[in-house]
Every structure is written in C-alpha cells, then in structure tokens.
C-alpha cells in the first residue's frame, strides 16, 4: 500500500486541520455569542422564540451531530473522504455566514429565530460529518506506526477552534465600542468565517483522495450500504458499542468538563468577570494544545489504551479537589475588604426599576461589584455579581484549568487513531463517526444541563459544597467508561485495519 511522503503528509495535515479548525470555530462562535444572539433573535418575553432558542442550543449540539455522522459517514464510505468533507466545510461555512446576515427579530419577526434554528441545525449536521472525514483522511495517508502522531494534529483543532473563536470575539469587542458591538459588531465573527472557509476550500480542492480509499474503490471493495454493514452486522456493531462505552463516552465528558464546564463554572458559580475568564481560558488552552501532539505521538509508542484510560482516571480522581481549589481562590469570604473603598449607589431606570450597586475592594486587589435590580412590576429581584480577580488568582486558575486541559489531551489526543484503526476501510467513516458524535454530542453535550441540575438540587438541599455536585455526572460516566475500557479494550489493537 503506497503511503504519503513526510512532505506530502504535512500538506494533508494542513488542509484537513485547517478545515476542521474552521468548522469548530464556526460551531463555537454561536455558543460564545449566545447572550447577544438571544437578545437579537430570541426575545425572552416571547415564549415561542425562547423555545426555539433552547432547541437551537440543545438540538444542534446533541441530537443533530450523530445524524450528520450517519449521513456524511455513509456518503464518505461510498463516494470518498475528500468530496464529503469538502461538502461539510461548505455547509458549515455557508450556514455560519448566513447566521451573521439574518435581520433581527425586531425587523423580520418570527422568521428570524426560525432561520437561526435551521442554520444552527445545518451547522450541527456539518460538524457531525466533518471530524470522521478529516481523521480518516489523515490516518489513511499516515505512515504505519505513526497514526497517533499525525492524527493528533486533527485533535488540536477543536481546542484551537475554541481559542480562535474567543480571540476573534475579544478582538472585535476591543476594536468597537460596546454600542457598536451590540448593534452590528457581533456579526463580524460570523462573516470572518466565509473568508477562512474560502481559503480552506481552495486548499482542500487540490488534494488527492485518500490512497487507501482510492485503492478500495479501484478494486471495487467499497461498501454498497455502509449503514447496514456498520450497525446491522453483529461483528462490527460490537466494536461500535465498545468504542462508545469504552472510549468516546468518557472522553466526551472529560473534554466538556475541561473546556466548557470550567468556563461556565468560573462565569456563573464563581462570578468571575467574563472577559477575564475568556482570557485565562485562552491561555490555558494555548499552553495545553501541544500535549495533544505529545500524547498522540506517545500512543504510537506505548499504545492508545493506557494513555486514554490514565487521562480518565486522573480526571475522576482530581476533578473535585481541582474545582474546590478553583472556588476557594475567588471566594471573597476568605479575603479582607478595604472598607474605606466601599461604594454604594441607588438608581432608578426608565422602567422605574430600582438598581442598587455595591462595589468592594479587597487587600489582595480583588474587586467585587454587585448589582441588584428590584423590578417595579414586583417580578422577582435579580442580582448580578462580577468579580475581577487579581493577577495571582488569575494564574492559579490558569494552572487549574491547564491541568484539566491536560486530562483532555490524554483522552482526546490518541482517540482518532484508536477509532480509525478499529474499523475496516469500507465502513470506517460511518462506523467511527457515530460513536464519536454520540459520545461527544450526547454524553458530553448534555453535561452542562445535567450538571446544572445536580448543582441546583444540592443547593436546594442546603449542601455546603453544592457547587461540586455538578461533577458527579462526568465522574460517574468517566468511571463506567474507565472500567469498560480497561477490561474490554486490548492495548495491542487486534482489530487494527490500517
């Protein structure tokens, strides 16, 4: 079987990684700009629009991705990897650009949230098809014994995509006034996507089909019905289930905890200023990203299983101590206030709502702002707290998030190689995409909602460390996955089809 030269494979990696990174970027900017999007398209006083908002958040992230995996996976196993992941790239880029062009709810009414929902669903479908294609394409070009290393470049794209989305949003916010950003500037990150997609499309267009798939096609050994062969065949189905329950399920929750739960925990539970969270998360992600490559490379030497399982075990053991430390770092009840610097003001807005603002400064440089709104129409009062942390606490949080990203890199770095080696060429795209997107989209994607449920439940029960209860979900899922992975997965992959 002919394999690509080192120079050639760098071309393959660049073309594949850039496209996949852009897809992740597209997918994340919607989440990162969720607050402004909801004010433009989903007014909270309209129940139907609010319902569509929830659907857009949940459905695209969870339900649609596995469908995209099945649809594009089947296509990739029949017509080829190259054309399929070019189609997903264009679908994702087009949908993202169009979200940035939709007039607001005020201008076109109900059509606005409906269009956003449709485009968001298309984004989810495209994402479901992209990853399997890129991972398969790279693995099928990679030299024997180096698949972990080469596919790990694809694994960096999800984190880099998140990092770039945070940076583009921060740069746009810094370049514009808050009013301009709120009025039209939030659309810029969506428009930027079309330029990146255009460049990536041109690069991918000139690439060759995967040599392994091209050979199979020439010999007439490709599958006529990849879905039936993947899931209707007991021999293959048992590996799909093993991939899901022994690897991707745990990987999905570790990934979501390390990147998204950490972010929402700092913003909503610890009340750290949103821009500070974005910055420190960006630094931690940047520091952690090379480890995807390291663990991918290491998995070629020592096997995929023990690296992925070690990442899961470390996450299971250390999540609670890490989050306890994170919470304590910014807990103002442990800090000393400079009482002379306390400010309090009471204002009334145009709706006659009473707004009470209190600002406090602490000896270590932490500042605390609390705004309480008592509504004139007797609605339940709302309190918004924002804590600006000092540089030392910021670095403590960066370190604690970095440790979590390290766990992510251990479980995620080798997984593309692990999945592609598990299935034969003719059904590889379909078979590996489904467990990946069920593990990440559903088990991982449901993490924020289920963890929030645990936290709320614990808070209502009056538990002093209620904020740690949200971690039970990733800990339980990762524990089950760890036991299954350790017992049923062979470190010397006897089903290595590459």
């Amino acid at each position: 079987m002919s394999k690509t030269s080192t120079k050639g494979i760098w071309k393959v990696i660049s073309a594949s990684s850039m496209g996949t990174m852009i897809e992740w970027y597209d997918f994340y900017i919607f989440g990162s700009l969720a607050v402004v999007i909801s004010t433009k398209f989903f007014p909270s006083d309209n129940p139907t629009a609010a319902f569509l908002s929830t659907l857009a958040t949940f459905a695209a992230g969870f339900v649609v991705r596995p469908f995209g995996a099945l649809f594009f996976g089947r296509l990739g196993d029949i017509i080829g990897r190259k054309y399929t992941f070019m189609a997903t790239l264009l679908l994702m880029g087009g949908s993202t650009f169009l979200i940035g062009c939709i007039p607001s709810y005020e201008t076109i009414g109900f059509m606005a949230p409906l269009l956003v929902l449709i485009l968001r669903l298309l984004q989810g479908l495209a994402l479901g098809g992209e990853y399997g294609g890129a991972a398969t394409y790279v693995a099928e070009h990679a030299p024997v014994g180096q698949k972990g290393y080469w596919t790990s470049w694809i694994q960096t794209t999800a984190t880099v995509g998140l990092f770039i989305s945070l940076m583009v949003i921060l740069a746009t916010k810094n370049a514009l006034s808050p009013e301009d950003f709120d009025s039209w500037g939030w659309r810029v990150p969506f428009w930027v996507s079309i330029v990146m997609v255009g460049v990536s499309y041109l690069i991918r267009k000139n690439m060759d089909e995967s040599p392994v798939f091209a050979k199979a096609k020439k010999e007439g050994t490709t599958s006529k019905n990849p879905l039936k062969e993947s899931f209707g065949n007991r021999y293959n189905l048992k590996f799909v289930l093993l991939a899901l329950f022994g690897a991707t399920m745990g990987q999905g929750v570790v990934w979501y905890t390390g990147q998204f739960y950490a972010m929402s925990f700092m913003k909503t539970v610890m009340n750290v200023d949103s821009s500070q969270v974005d910055t420190l998360l960006g630094i931690a992600l940047l520091m952690g990203t090379p480890f995807f490559i390291f663990f991918g490379w290491l998995s070629d030497k020592v096997g995929r299983k023990y690296i992925m399982m070690s990442g899961m075990l470390l996450a299971i053991l250390f999540y609670r101590p890490i989050y306890k430390m994170m919470y304590t770092t910014t807990d103002v009840s442990y800090k000393t206030e400079i009482t002379d610097k306390r400010n309090q003001s009471i204002d009334t807005n145009k709706n006659n709502d009473k707004i009470t603002s209190i600002s406090k400064t602490y000896t270590d440089g932490t500042s605390y702002i609390e705004k309480k709104t008592d509504f004139a129409d007797k609605k339940e009062a709302q309190t918004h707290i924002s804590i600006n942390i000092n540089s030392s606490d910021e670095w403590t949080l960066i370190l604690l998030v970095f440790i979590q990203v390290l766990f992510v890199t251990m479980v995620y770095g080798p997984i593309a190689a692990f999945l592609v080696e598990m299935f034969p060429t003719k059904i590889r795209y379909t078979s590996m995409s489904l467990p990946y997107h069920v593990g990440n989209g559903i088990f991982g994607g449901l993490l924020p909602a289920i963890s929030t449920y645990f936290v709320t439940h614990a808070k209502q029960a009056g538990k002093p460390d209620f904020y740690l209860d949200g971690l039970w979900y990733p800990i339980i899922i990762a524990s089950v996955c760890f036991v299954i992975g350790m017992i049923y997965i062979d470190n010397k992959n006897k089903t290595n089809h590459l």
Binding site: A50, F58, K238, I442, I487, Y488
Partner: protein, 75 residues
Amino acid sequence: MNTIKQILGVLWIILAAAAAYFCVFEFGLPKLLSDQQDDLVFGIIILFILTPLIVLGLGTFGYFAVIGEYNDKKK
C-alpha cells in the same frame, strides 16, 4: 479475563436498567411535566434520546459481553 468480561456483562445490563429508571423517573418525566420551556426540551432529549441510547446501547453491550462476544478467542 474472559470470565470477568462475561460476568461484568450482567452488571452492564443491570446498570442499563438502573439508568432507565433514573432517566425516566428522576430526570425525564419531572422535566417533561414542568412548566418551563427549557425543562421541556431537556426532558424530551433525556427521554427520547439519552434513555434509549443508554438502555439499548449499554444493554446490548452487556448482552454481547455475557455471550462472550468480547472474549479474546473471538476477536
């Protein structure tokens, strides 16, 4: 090792049944019957996506383990 794999298969089937109970009665139905829109969508996803996936998926995985599909000789 093969015996452990097969015995643990029973555990996965029991776990699938336990997960079904929690997903339906602890998470799904209470959310579905709640007045909140967010809860309704969450309840639908739990009941119609996550529950079948865990029950059928983990249950089938357990069944395969019990009948020795994951035993070394059969790979």
